[in-house]
Symmetry: D2
C-alpha cells in the first residue's frame, strides 16, 4: 500500500527471483525500521482483544512498537510491558492522560476499550497531542463521532478507525474488481456476520458500554465492506431487528439485524448480523459476468476469495476459482498502516470520518427498524467520499 | 420418498450389500414399471425446456412415459414422438384439448408453456379429466391460481406445481436439519438466484406471457425454498425492485428484486433475484450451532450441501463439511413423484396450493416495492400448511 | 465426440442462445434416434452392475436400446425385459448363443459377467456376428485378450472395452491439456483407486472369476487413465503387492498394489489400488506450469476437475480453479459411443487392443511384484498406438 | 505441546470463555517471556530464507529473540541487527566461532546456510557450546550427520533439525488419527513436493553445496512426513530418478525422484519430488474407513486438512470435511519449541537423530535409483524410534 511514502533509506534487498515466472512470487517486503525509529504506541485497555490479538501483533510490526499501556490494573500493566520488553514504568491509569501526554516515547495511542468509552478517550488523546487509532465502532452515536473527528482535527493529530478489511489483500482485490469493471457492473452485495457469545454479563450486552448489539459490533463489517468495495454511500436503508424473547443477553441490546440498503448506482446491499448464530462471516457480490465471494469474510485470519465465471476458452465450462493471496496478520497490517501515516503525514485509509459515516448509517438502520419503514440518508457524492481516493488503488 | 405406496409386486431384488459398512451405500431402488403400466404423460409445449430437459428426463423415468405432445407445430410434434418412441399420431394442437381428452393413453399432462398460458391450459386439462403437472410459476396472479386449484379439485384431478427442490435430496436434508433442531434454532435464511438472458425478444421479457421478471421466474425458488425448509409461512415482506434504465429487456418486466420476509418464529429471509447477474444460485441458513449452505442451490444438477460447525471432539477446530448425496435427474424425480401420486392417489408434495401461496407472497413483494413500505401477509398456522406434513419426513 | 459421423437427418434444432455470452452454454445435443433405428443391445449377465447401472442408463440412451438379455435365471430375465419394455421372449440362457445369433433385433451385446467369463463369451458373440462391448478388464490374461481381439476382427465385428473415462468430459479435458502443452511438459502422474468390499464370498475375491484382486478391478483405471491422457505407453514398471495376513478376502486375490511406471518421454506414473481402504479415487498431474487433479476421479458420477496455477495477471496470487463441465451418465455415454460406432462403422475410442495392452502391463506389474525387481515392457511408439489418434481431439 | 514444562510464573490469565460452547475456542496461550529471559539466538547465514522468513518469525517469538548474526557481509549484518533491535556489534564472520562462543547473550544458533556447510558449522557450534537448530537437510551424507549428532552429544548441547511439520497442528492431527485407530488401519500414504526454480546458478543446483537436487531439498518432507505420522521406519525403498536432458539446472543435481517405500506394518508410501513442476505440495493417507489429505501440505502457510468418510448417521451420504485448526507461523513455532527445549532441557521433537535417519533413507533411495533395484534398509523397531514417544501425543 503506502510503502512508497516511507523514508527510503532501507529498501528491500535487490535479489533475482528465486522461483520461475510461472510460480507465485511474493512482492519484496520493506525491512523493519530499527525499534528506536518506530512509532511508539500506548495501548489503552488490556482486555481480551489487547492480550490475545493486538499485543502479539504489535510485537511483529515493522514500523511501530509497544511503548506504554493504560489500564485499571497497574500490576498487570507492568507485567505486560515486561513480557513485551517495553519500559516497565510506562503504565498509566485511565485518569493519567496528562502523564501520558508527557511521555515523548509515545506518539500514538491505540484505544481498545468498550465502545462507550471511545468518545471521551479519543478526546483525551487529542488533548494529549497523541495520534489516535480507535477500535471500531468509533463511538455510540454520530454526534459523539463528529466531536471526536473535530477534536483530532483541531489538535492536529491523526484519527484512524481500527478497521481491518480495508488493508487486507483479498478485500482490496474485490474493491479493484468492482472499480475496474472487469466483470461488468456490480448488481447486488450480500453480507452476513454472526457469532455466539454466551455470557449475559459481558459488556457487549450492556447498552451503555456497547452502544448496541450485533449491529455495531459485527454488522458494522458488512456495512463498511459494502461502502469500501463500491466507493459509494447508501441513500436508503430498510431494517428489521429481532431478539429472542427472554434471552438475558438481549434485554439491553439487539440480537439480529437484517437490512437492505441501496446506493445511487442501483446496487443493493442485503446484510445481516446475528448474536446467537454459529460463527459465520461471509460476503458475496453479484456482477454481470461473475459472482465473487469471501467465505470466510471479516475473520481475523484465513479469509478466502472465490470468483465464479464462465471459462474464457470454453463455452460449456464454468470456472470456480479460489484466488489465494498471502494471509498476513491483519492487526499488524492495520497498526503498521497507522504508523506509516504518522511517519509520513498521510491520511489513513480509514480516517475518523469513515467511522462517523458508519455511525450515521447505523442510526438510520435503527430508526428504520423502530418505525418499520425505509429511511433515507443524505446523498453523498462519491467515489470514496471519506477516503483518500488513491487509497483503494494502491 | 413415497415409494412404499406403490404397488408392491416389483420390489427391489434382495441382495447382500456389496461394500463394507464404512462405505457409502445407495438405498435400493425400485425397478421401473413396465411401460404399459406407467403413467402416460402428454407434454404441453415443445420449447427449449421440453426439448433439452423434460423429454430426455421422461425417457429415463420409471413410473411414467411420453404418451403425447401438444404443440403449435405438428410436424415437429410427430418428429419428437418418433424420436422417443411414442405413437406418432398422439400430437395435438393447442385447440385440441377435446381430442386429447379422448386419448386414454394419456393420464396426465405436463404443462411447459409460457407462464401466461398456464391458467387457461390447466383449466382445459381439468376439463379433459387429466391430472396436471404445471411448470412454475403456477400463474400470473393469485386469482388465477385459485381458479386453477379449484378447477382441478372440482374435476377430481391432481394438480402439482413442477417445483424440483422439494424432491432433491440435499434440499430435503436441510428441511430435516431445520425440523430436527439438531443445530438449535434457525435464525436467518439468505438466498439468491440470478442469471443473464440476453435476448430482449424472449417471452420471458414480456409481461403478458411471463407475468413478471426475475421474481416469478427464478426468485420464486428462494421463496419456496425458505417456505419448504422451515415449514412456515411469511407474515411480512419488504422489497425493492431495480431495473437498469434503458435496457430493452427490462421495459416490461423487472430486472432485480431484493426482499426480506419474516416468519412468526422470528426467522428472517433475505433474498434476491437478478436477471443481469452471472448465473449464481445459492442459499445459506444460519443456525445457533451451525451454518449450512447450498452452493449451488436451485440448479438442475450438481447441487452441493455444506455444513459448518465446531468439531464435536476438538474445541479449537472448526469443521466445514460437504455432505454428498446422490445427484439424480431432478426433472425425472419430479415426474416420477407425480406418476406415483397418480398411481396411488396420494397428494403431491407440491400441490397447486403451494403455487397459489407463492403467488400471494409475490404479489405482496410487488406491492411492497411499489409503495416502498413493508406489507403484511395473512398469518397462516403451520407447519406445512399446504403440504402433506408427512412429506418432508419421508 | 463422434456425433458428426452420425446420419444427419435429425440435427438439433437451430435456436438463438438462451443465455448471454458470459454464461455457460451447453453444446446443442443431437436428438435421440427413433427406437427402431437405434442399435439393439443384448445385455449379457444380470448382476448388480447391470441392474443398478447399465439397464437404467440404457433406458436413457439416444442411439441404442435394450433388445435382449442373457441370464441364468430366465424368469428374472423376462421380468427385466418387461420392466424396460423390451420383447419378453428375448431372453437367452448362457448356452443359447446360437439362438441369440438368430435375433436380428440384436446388433450388439454388452458383456457384464465376471471377468473370467469374458474370454469365452466374447468369442461366442463374435461367432454370433454381434458387435461386442465387453466390461473391463477384457480378460484374465493377455493371451486370452489377444484371442478375443482376433476373433472379433476375423468375424468382422467391433470389439470395445467398456471403459468410461475416455468418454467423460473432465478426463478428456485433461488429455487435451497434456497434448496442447498449455501448461508446459507433464512430469509426474499419480493415481489411486480404492474401495472396501466386505463379503469374502464375492466372485471378485475368487481368482478364477476375477483374474486378480484390486489391480484388474480398480487399479486398471489408474493404468488406462495414465495411458489415455499421455497417449504414451509405459516402458518399465516396478510394483509391490501387499495383502493383510489372515484376511479371508485376500487368500486368492491381492489386496493392495503400489506401482511406478515410466514412459519414454520421462513421465513417471505413481499408482495404487486398494481393496480395504475407504472409497477414494483420485488422480493428479504435475505439469511445469500447473498441477491438475481429479478428485474424485474414476467414479460413476460427480467427477471434479481442479487446476492450480499462478494468476495470469497477479504475480503474487495462486489460482485454484474447479472447471465444471456437464456431468453425464457415463454408462449411457459409453453405450451411445458404441452404438455410434456400430451405426457408422468407425473404430471405438477404446477398442479391444486397448484392453489387451492394459492386460500386458498388468502382467508385468504382477511379475515385478513377484520378483521384486523392475520389469521392462516392449516399447511401443505413440502417440495413441491403440486408439484412433483423432479420438482424443474430438 | 511442551508448554507445561516451561517455568510457571507467567500463566495465561484465567478468563471465562468469550464465545459459546458451540463455537471454536482457541486454547489459552502462554504469554511471552520477558526479552531478557528469552533464549538468545545467533542466526548463521543471512540469505533469502533468513531475511524473508526466519528473522520476521523470530521477532514474533515468545521464548526466544535475535541476539547475533553470522554473515560474510558484516555491514549487512549490522543493518539487520539494527532493524530488529539487537546489539549492533553482535555480528560475526564465518571464521569467528571463537568470538561467538564468548557471547553469553547467545545460547543457541540457528544454522541457515547451504546444506554442504551444515556439517562443519554444527561441529563449530558444538565446540562453542551453543545449542544448535540446523536447517534441513541436516547434512549431505549420513556419515557427516552421524558426526554432527555425536559432536553435539559430546559437547552437551541440543541438536534439533529445523523441520516444521512435526510442530504444525494439522500434521499433528494426522499423526493422532493414525495412532488412534479411529479410522481403522492406515494402508497407503502418498506425498508429493514440487516447485520450479529457474536460476541454474543457484547453490541449490550445485552438488557440493546442495548435496542433491529435489530429494534432499523438498522430497525430504514426504519422507519425514510419512515417518512422523506412522511412527514407523521404512524397511525397503525403490526409486527412479529423472532429469530433463540438457537442462543446465540439472547437470549436477537431480530433477525428479519417484519412490516407493514400505514399512513393517505393510503400509506403503508412494512419493515424489520435482524441481520443474508447478509448486504443489500434498499428501494423502488411505485408511480403512477414511481418506485424509493435506492440500497444500508442507507449505510455510495455509496448510489445509481434509477427511473423507461415510456419514455416521446416513448410509447413503459421503462426508468431505475440512478441519480447520489455527494457522500459526511455522518458523516461529519451531524456534519457540527449540527455545523451550533449551530452557527446560527436554529433547527436541526432531532431534539430530531424525535428520540422520532421513539421510540414511535418502542414500538408499539414491542407491536404488542408481542400480534400478529395490534396496533394503536396516529394520528399526518402533514406534518413534528417534523421537520422544510422548512428543506426538502432546
Amino acid at each position: 500500500m503506502s510503502r512508497s511514502l516511507l523514508p527510503a533509506q532501507d529498501p528491500p534487498e535487490a535479489r533475482p527471483p528465486f522461483v520461475a515466472a510461472s510460480e507465485r512470487r511474493a512482492a519484496p517486503e520493506l525491512p523493519p525500521l530499527a525499534p528506536e525509529r518506530r512509532v511508539g504506541f500506548a495501548v489503552i485497555g488490556l482486555g481480551r482483544l489487547s492480550l490475545d490479538s493486538i499485543l502479539p501483533a504489535l510485537a511483529s510490526c515493522k514500523f511501530c512498537r509497544l511503548a506504554a499501556v493504560m489500564t485499571g490494573d497497574k500490576d498487570k500493566g507492568r507485567r505486560i510491558l515486561g513480557q513485551y520488553g517495553a519500559p516497565a514504568d510506562a503504565v498509566y491509569g485511565y485518569d493519567e492522560w496528562d502523564k501520558l501526554a508527557q511521555n515523548d516515547d509515545v506518539q500514538a495511542v491505540y484505544i481498545v476499550t468498550p465502545n462507550g468509552l471511545h468518545h471521551e478517550q479519543v478526546k483525551q488523546a487529542a488533548r494529549a497531542a497523541k495520534h489516535v487509532l480507535c477500535e471500531k465502532p468509533l463511538s455510540n452515536t454520530s454526534a459523539e463521532a463528529l466531536e471526536m473527528v473535530r477534536a483530532c482535527a483541531d489538535a492536529g493529530v491523526l484519527l484512524m478507525v481500527a478497521y481491518r478489511l480495508q488493508y487486507e489483500p483479498h478485500n482490496r482485490d474485490i474493491a479493484r474488481l468492482v472499480r475496474s469493471g472487469e466483470f461488468g457492473s456490480l448488481k447486488i452485495i450480500e453480507a452476513h456476520n454472526g457469532q455466539v457469545q454466551d455470557e449475559a454479563s459481558q459488556w457487549r450486552h450492556q447498552r451503555e458500554l456497547a452502544g448496541g448489539g450485533s449491529l455495531p459490533d459485527i454488522g458494522l463489517y458488512c456495512l463498511n465492506f459494502a461502502r469500501f468495495v463500491t466507493g459509494e454511500e447508501p441513500v436508503e436503508v430498510m431494517a428489521w431487528i429481532w431478539s429472542t424473547p427472554g434471552d438475558p443477553r438481549f434485554t439491553e441490546v439487539e440480537e439480529n439485524v437484517a437490512w437492505q440498503m441501496r446506493f445511487l448506482s442501483g446496487v443493493v446491499g442485503r446484510c445481516s448480523s446475528a448474536y446467537d448464530a454459529h460463527e459465520s462471516r461471509n460476503a458475496r457480490l453479484y456482477f454481470q459476468k461473475a459472482s465473487v465471494k469471501l467465505d470466510p469474510a471479516f475473520s481475523y485470519k484465513g479469509i478466502r476469495l472465490y470468483v465464479n465465471h464462465r471459462s474464457a476458452e470454453r463455452e460449456d465450462v464454468e470456472v470456480m476459482e479460489e484466488r489465494v493471496s498471502e494471509d498476513k496478520n491483519q492487526f499488524g497490517t492495520e497498526m503498521d498502516h497507522m504508523a506509516e501515516c504518522v511517519l509520513t503525514g498521510r491520511k489513513p485509509g480509514t480516517p475518523g470520518e469513515e467511522g462517523l459515516q458508519d455511525q450515521r448509517i447505523m442510526e438510520a438502520i435503527y430508526r428504520s427498524a423502530a418505525d418499520n419503514r425505509p429511511v433515507l440518508l443524505e446523498p453523498i457524492a462519491g467515489p470514496d467520499a471519506f477516503r483518500d481516493p488513491r487509497f483503494s488503488d494502491e
